[in-house]
């Protein structure tokens, strides 16, 4: 019995050692598998993120539909009529921002004298923007800055007496009162971006030359 006992104990020890070794092997295998899994997942994750970034970068700048630009202080008018009429027209707003007009359009450009409403409104129908300033409320340098600011084509700049704001920019169905192009540059630029030659006008791209000159055309 004294000889058997250690033998059994030894056998038990051997089995336990066997079991411990087996456990250690399993743990090592599990650990290795886990490492492989983590490395694979990390590489795959990094690759996926890199691809998404590439995708976003190559898709260019996010575009903003010009029609979606919101402009503070802009007044809009819908349901404007666009008939060709002789004589003067009584417009719903001052300065006019669309409506019936003379059959001959005003040649776009810079004027030192007031221009006839009826011809200028025809320009708005063709997609032009019309900058007006009240000579009583603006300085010579503000007028110069406005003339520099106005687009070279499809724009009219002219004085307009008796405005309720120093300056206005009008397009077909929309207008914005403002003080000058220095203080309000961002807003006025937004207006031009949204309305210059825009599809809001009934005939954008129709001529703004070959019509009639007003008095005092200097450019």
């Amino acid at each position: 019995m004294a000889d058997d006992k250690p033998t059994v104990k030894q056998q038990r020890d051997a089995r336990r050692q066997e079991k411990v070794a087996e456990l250690k092997r399993q743990q090592a295998r599990a650990k290795r598998n886990r490492t492989i899994g983590i490395v694979t997942a990390s590489v795959a994750g990094a690759a996926a993120i890199a691809l998404v970034v590439t995708f976003v970068v190559t898709s260019g700048q996010p575009r903003q539909d010009p029609q979606a630009i919101e402009i503070d202080g802009v007044k809009t008018y819908s349901d404007l009529t666009a008939n060709h009429v002789g004589g003067s027209v009584d417009y719903a707003m001052t300065p006019p921002a669309g409506g019936d007009h003379n059959q001959i359009w005003l040649n776009c450009g810079v004027y030192t004298e007031p221009v006839p409403n009826e011809n200028a409104v025809h320009d708005l129908e063709h997609g032009a923007v019309w900058f007006t300033y009240d000579p009583e409320q603006v300085s010579e340098s503000e007028i110069e800055a406005l003339r520099d600011f106005a687009p070279d084509t499809y724009a009219v700049v002219s004085p307009y007496e008796g405005l309720d704001s120093p300056m206005y920019v009008s397009a077909w169905g929309a207008q914005l009162p403002f003080a000058n192009v220095t203080d309000d540059e961002a807003t006025v630029s937004d207006f031009v971006t949204k309305y210059w030659k825009s599809t809001n006008a009934p005939e954008p791209g129709a001529p703004c030359t070959g019509g009639v000159d007003g008095t005092g055309k200097i450019a």
Binding site: L23, A41, A48, F55, T58, R63, G127, W196, P207
Partner: protein, 245 residues
């Protein structure tokens, strides 16, 4: 300290293999999903990068810049063509002017429509001609670079250096327009032909500049056609001008 105990329990209570296989299945599913996602992304990225129109041109693209500037350029050609028709009875000049006015008016409409379809403003987002200062497709900046990429023109002209906000090549000045306005008969014809030859040469320079910078199919087809037809019109106008000298 808890991990070995749990592993021990796994082995002894017989739930171990089952639990191990379910976590292996989960890992397989995740790996599968990731593989599918990556293959899809790679496919989309490759498709997008290799397609002829990789992206819709944005507001600061060379294509949008060309479409805006060339509309202005064409509008002046229409204006001059309409002017000469009212200032001479010569059928040859009048029919050429008729052709130019309607062609360029229609082409301006095409460029207008591109900008609408690209959902970018008609109004320039940067100064005139800025797009012509951008690098070409082969990485050049255009100055001292021989173009004539259209081939049809046959005249590879050295491109002048342009600056943002600069004047478009070939545009008539206000003074030249005023001179045409007051001219009549053969004088008006000569002035028109002289101004329009320069105008077309400038137009071809701009068309060559976009051909060197854009891979957008419609824009390239348009510009190639412009180079070809305006060059043939230049040849015709030079002959007409010689007859009137």
């Amino acid at each position: 300290m808890t991990a070995p105990g749990r592993d021990d329990a796994d082995v002894t209570d017989g739930a171990g293999p089952h639990r191990a296989s379910s976590s292996r299945r989960l890992r397989l599913v995740i790996a599968g999903v990731l593989t599918v996602a990556i293959v899809l992304l790679v496919g989309i990225a490759l498709g997008r990068l290799s397609s002829p129109n990789p992206v819709t041109p944005g507001t600061d693209s060379v294509e949008a810049g060309f479409s805006r500037d060339m509309q202005v350029h064409h509008e002046q050609a229409v204006q001059m063509a309409m002017m000469v028709r009212d200032r001479t009875d010569d059928p040859e000049v009048r029919s050429m002017a008729y052709d130019m006015a309607l062609t360029q008016s229609q082409q301006a409409g095409q460029m207008y429509a591109w900008l609408e379809l690209w959902r970018v403003p008609q109004a320039p987002s940067e100064p005139t001609m800025t797009w012509m200062t951008r690098p070409t497709l082969d990485g050049d900046y255009g100055s001292h670079h021989m173009t004539g990429d259209g081939g049809a023109s046959g005249s590879a002209t050295p491109v002048a250096t342009h600056e943002p906000g600069g004047r478009m090549p070939g545009l008539a000045t206000d003074e030249q327009l005023a001179a045409l306005d007051s001219a009549r008969g053969v004088e008006a014809e000569r002035l028109f032909l002289t101004l329009m030859i320069a105008h077309h040469e400038g137009g071809i320079e701009m068309a060559d500049a976009i051909l060197a910078r854009s891979e957008v199919t419609q824009v390239r087809a348009f510009a190639s056609g412009m180079v070809q037809t305006q060059q043939s019109e230049i040849d015709a106008m030079q002959a007409m001008l010689a007859e009137r000298s």
